[in-house]
Each structure stands twice: as structure tokens, then as C-alpha cells.
Amino acid sequence: MPSKSRREFVKKATGLIGVSTLASTHAHALSLTNPGRDAKDARYVGQEGKRFGMVIDLRKCVGCQACTSACKSENKVPKEKFRTYVPEYELGSYPSVRKAFLPQLCNHCAEPSCVSVCPTGATFARKDGIVVVDNEICWGCGYCINACPYDKRYFNPISNVADKCTLCAHRVDHGLLPACVESCVGGARVFGDLNDPSSHVSRLLATFPATVLKPASGTKPRVFYIALSGEIQSLPYSNGILDDAVRKREGALHKEWSSKGE
């Protein structure tokens, strides 16, 4: 009967269209990584063959925080959030005391514990080792923030997803230095390609004994320190004495999370 065959035709046609649409979206949608990496976008791939890292020569750091402010303005880092900063410590006991500065930023680890736990593939290491977050993919679960042993990730209140230091990838890809390195008055921060034996970073590492923060965490950081005191290397769990300038000004109790110190 014509009506029956028409119904059959409609059935089969819709079925076929349905299956093919599903199959095609699947082929495009399901990804091991994320769309940017699948599309081989240069910002996602990075500079192949290179391995970027930083050497921080603590003998030259004067704790001026030029890096902190340069980073904030270069990367438009929101209020109260920091991609890099320089905590100050007081070592020893009176009268033999001295101050120490420890510039910190994302270590762009070779074994980043933040990347392996990411359930959306939003955070990943580029081929040049720079660990970045795709802020259009990240769903803001915060797993990476907890997984980072260095406290170097935060929720960006504007994009509402995880955010972090990119080693100024947008500058590096155009042959410029990261903002914190460019602005370092003492020349303590040195940036370069660890794969290139003639680069400044490689020569420094070959010349001076260098170490990393929390080596026991097994993340293989690619930010190295020269003249790092043992007292602060593992960022120990110390007394509740902390002059948290931001919290002091803004008030502690209004925040969800705040430092307990004085």
C-alpha cells in the first residue's frame, strides 16, 4: 500500500538522518584532548622542540615585587589573585636574623599533577612544556587547584574558571620575555630554552648548583632556584605568624577562605 510504503520511507529516512547526525557529531565532539589541540592551534601546540623553563638566582632577588606587579598588569590578573609573587621570610632567631625572598610562580612541571587530574582536558602542557588552561573548556571543578602542590592556581573571578601563570606564552611565542623576567631589576629571573645547551638558563644550571621547590612531590618542576635555603625549600608548615597584607586590608572574615595568622 502506498501509505504504508510512505510511512516506511519516512521511518527509514529519519532513522538514517538521525544515525548519521549522531555519528558525525560524535566524530567531531568526542576528543581525547580538547578542540584547540585537535585543531593544532599554534597557541595550543607551542614551540615544538623547545622546553621552556626559568632559573631564579636568589642571590640577586631584592624582594622589590616588580615581577608581581608586572605580571598583574601584563596578564590583567584580577584583584587579590596572583600568578607570581615574592613571599618574605625571616630566618634564624634574634640577634642573628636575616631576610629571605622566594619568588614563586607556576613551575611548569614536567609531570604536572594538575594536568593529569583534569576531567575536561582544559588544562594541558604544550609541546614546549608550558602548562596552560583553556578557559573556554574548563568547567571550574577546582580539582587542579587542589592537586597543585605549589598553590599556583586560582579561580579567575572574571572567567570563572581555573587560571594560572602561562609563562607569558603570548609574549614568548612572539620572541619576547615573560613580563616578570623583563621587569626583574636584579636580573634574578632568567628565562630560556632548557633544551638548548647554549641558552642562558642551561648555562646557569650547568655552572651553579640549583634545586627546585618540594622535590619530593615528584612533579619535576622546571623552575630552578640558585642559592635556595633549605629552610624554605619544602615550604614548611610553620607557625601562625603571617603578615598577609591583602587580608589585613580587606578583612579576613568576609572571605570564604582566609589565612589564620595574625
Binding site: S31, V117, I137, N146, S234, L235, S238, W257, S258, S259
Partner: protein, 374 residues
């Protein structure tokens, strides 16, 4: 390193901590769901007749808890509109991201419980339609029920075990970082699930059934079961804490600091009041015969496990990674991930319990076991 006393951090910033009050609540919900499922399997899979009357009820409870639980996670996301990204991208991280396993489990597990509940209550549904329920059909359904229950047990263990995995995998946080975390979470889950059952069962038996009678023997049995689950929980916690604080590497300093500062909340409130007291009530016949004491034990243990979840999730994050000492957490009252979120989630749970218990003829099934006795 023993330089702590010679070092003062005089200036730093406060780092971000992502997980708030929603997460302990989520862990409590999934844990209690897994426990309710296991208790229902005592009868369905292991054939323990004494748990038959509550098997259906606790199965439905397991379902409801697991439907409400993921709402906590969605509320905790900063970009809940991007849930689809989870399904589309990042599959290369599947082996190393327990969160990736979790979402799949969270979808499979409630579907399985629902299927099991439908199979279990099929005789009542078919009778309602006026269709005869044959002996053959009954045997078939029984086999299917056992099969679903048998698949469900590992699934229930996984659905809560993975939450322990999520925390245990975080080596950056000393309080989370232990391979015993999944087992620890399961053990405490059995405590909270049994506690919740102890609270809800008499309410439902008394007010929402035709026989309107509380099964005191069952309450005593559950109190006993609760006490044994607490024993298991305490033994696991003993192993955990003795290794973590005494024989650990540098993580032990952070843990000593944490447990020292939170001595009251952890040891007195959580361990003594919320675990030892209910355990004593369950084991001492004088108390376990009294409904009031058993209810008290149920409430204490349910609250105690919630506090344990809080102490673990919030407490773990309070430990400084780059900053000295501990951080403090003050949940927001309104908005995402706030006290109101948790209150809403509980309200949703109550609404769902009401809806599911109205839809499924659990009271008629339960009445079978009590009317026969008379």
C-alpha cells in the same frame, strides 16, 4: 626539616581553595546511598532473611540519595553550564582523573538501582494493572533481581570508593593523600547510611504504613549493625592515623599541626561523641532495646560522619601548601556552594523521598513481613 621554629613567614598571599561545603555534603549523600544499597543487598543478594522487611525501603532510599547527591557537584562547579565539556573532551586523562570515572559511575548507579526497584516491585505494579503475576514471571524477576543486586554491589562500592580516590590521589594535601582513603570513606559511609536508616525507618513505619507499627527488633538489629560498622570504621581510622602521623615522611608535620589545632572537633566531637557513644548504644542491650537511645545513636552517627567528611574535605584544604599554619573557611550563606545550597539539597532529598515513596508500594511489600507474623 626542623627549621620551623627559626622561620617566620612575614608576608605572603592567601591562596585559593576550590571546594566548599557542597563537597562534604556530596560525600555524605553518596556514602549513605552506597550503604543503604549494601544493606538492601543483605536480603536481596546474600539471602539474609532478617533484613528482608527493609530491603525495598533501603533500596529506594539509596536511589533517592544518589539522585540528589550530584546536585552538590553541579552547584560546586564554577561553570555548571559546561557540563557537556566533561563528556566531549579530555578523555586522555581517564586513567589518572578519578573525577572522570566518577561522573560515569554517578550515571550508571542510579539507573541500576531504579531497574532493581522496578523489578522488585513489579508484582505490585502488575497487580495494580489487573494483570496476573505468574509464578514463572516471579522466578524470572527474582533471578534478575539477584543479578542486578550482584552487579550493584561493586557499583555501589565504586560510586563511593571513587570519592575516596579523588581525595587520596591529591598528593599536595597531606590529609587526603593516603591509599586507605577509599576504604576509609566506605567504612564511614556504612556508618552514616545505617544511621540514616535508623532515623527514617521508624518514621515511615509509624506514619506511612497501614500496619503503623515500629519494628523494634529491626531497630535493635540496625543498632547492632551500626555498632559493628563503627568498629570497622574505627579500626581503619586507627591504621590510617597511626601510619599518617607517626610513621610518615614530612606530611606528618602538617597532620600534627592539623590534628593539634582541631583536637576538640576531631577527637572529642567526631570520635568520642559521634562514634564511641553510638557504638556503646548498639552493643549494650539496655540501650539498644530502647527506641529513643537507638534513634539518638542513629542521629549522632549520621552527624558524626558528616563532620568527618567536613573535617577531611575542609580540613585538608585548610593545611597551607606554601603559606604557614592553617587557613580558615567560612561558608557563604547565600549563592553557589553556600549553606543555603546544602539546605536546598536536603530539601530536594526530602521531596524526592516523598515522591518515590508515594510512587513505589514499599509499604505494601513491607506489610507482607509483618502481617504474616501475626
Amino acid at each position: 626539616m626542623d627549621f620551623g621554629s627559626l622561620l617566620h613567614t612575614i608576608s605572603s598571599i592567601t591562596p585559593d581553595r576550590p571546594w566548599g561545603i557542597d563537597i562534604p555534603n556530596y560525600f555524605w549523600f553518596t556514602g549513605s546511598s552506597a550503604a543503604a544499597f549494601i544493606i538492601s543487598s543483605f536480603a536481596h543478594v546474600f539471602g539474609m532473611k532478617e533484613y528482608k522487611p527493609i530491603a525495598g525501603f533501603s533500596l529506594l532510599l539509596a536511589f533517592v540519595l544518589l539522585v540528589a547527591a550530584p546536585m552538590n557537584l553541579i552547584d560546586d562547579l564554577r561553570q555548571p553550564g559546561r557540563i557537556i565539556n566533561f563528556f566531549f573532551y579530555g578523555w586522555e586523562n581517564f586513567p589518572t582523573s578519578p573525577m572522570k570515572w566518577g561522573v560515569l559511575l554517578l550515571m550508571a548507579y542510579p539507573l541500576l538501582i531504579l531497574a532493581e526497584a522496578i523489578v522488585l516491585y513489579r508484582p505490585y505494579f502488575t497487580m495494580k494493572k489487573g494483570v496476573a503475576y505468574t509464578k514463572e514471571q516471579e522466578e524470572k524477576d527474582h533471578r534478575l533481581g539477584v543479578l542486578l543486586g550482584a552487579i550493584g554491589i561493586p557499583l555501589a562500592l565504586s560510586v563511593h570508593g571513587y570519592t575516596g580516590y579523588i581525595l587520596g590521589a591529591v598528593h599536595a594535601i597531606p590529609l587526603f593523600h593516603t591509599p586507605i582513603m577509599p576504604i576509609l570513606f566506605l567504612a564511614s559511609a556504612m556508618v552514616s547510611g545505617t544511621g540514616l536508616l535508623i532515623i527514617l525507618l521508624p518514621i515511615f513505619q509509624k506514619f506511612f504504613t497501614d500496619f503503623k507499627r515500629i519494628d523494634y527488633a529491626m531497630m535493635q538489629r540496625l543498632a547492632r549493625l551500626l555498632a559493628w560498622f563503627i568498629v570497622i570504621d574505627l579500626v581503619i581510622r586507627f591504621f590510617w592515623l597511626t601510619f599518617a602521623i607517626t610513621f610518615n615522611n614530612e606530611e606528618k608535620y602538617a597532620l600534627k599541626l592539623f590534628f593539634g589545632e582541631n583536637f576538640w572537633e576531631v577527637l572529642i566531637v567526631d570520635y568520642v561523641i559521634c562514634l564511641f557513644v553510638p557504638m556503646a548504644i548498639g552493643f549494650i542491650r539496655f540501650f539498644s532495646r530502647s527506641l529513643k537511645w537507638v534513634l539518638f545513636a542513629g542521629v549522632l552517627s549520621a552527624i558524626g560522619v558528616w563532620i568527618f567528611r567536613w573535617n577531611t574535605v575542609i580540613g585538608g584544604q585548610s593545611i597551607g601548601k606554601t603559606t604557614p599554619f592553617l587557613l580558615e573557611y567560612h561558608p557563604h550563606v547565600f549563592g553557589f556552594d553556600s549553606i543555603l545550597s546544602v539546605v536546598s539539597n536536603w530539601s530536594l532529598l526530602i521531596a524526592l523521598i516523598a515522591a518515590i515513596m508515594a510512587l513505589f508500594p514499599w509499604d505494601k511489600e513491607m506489610a507482607n513481613y509483618y502481617t504474616k507474623e501475626q
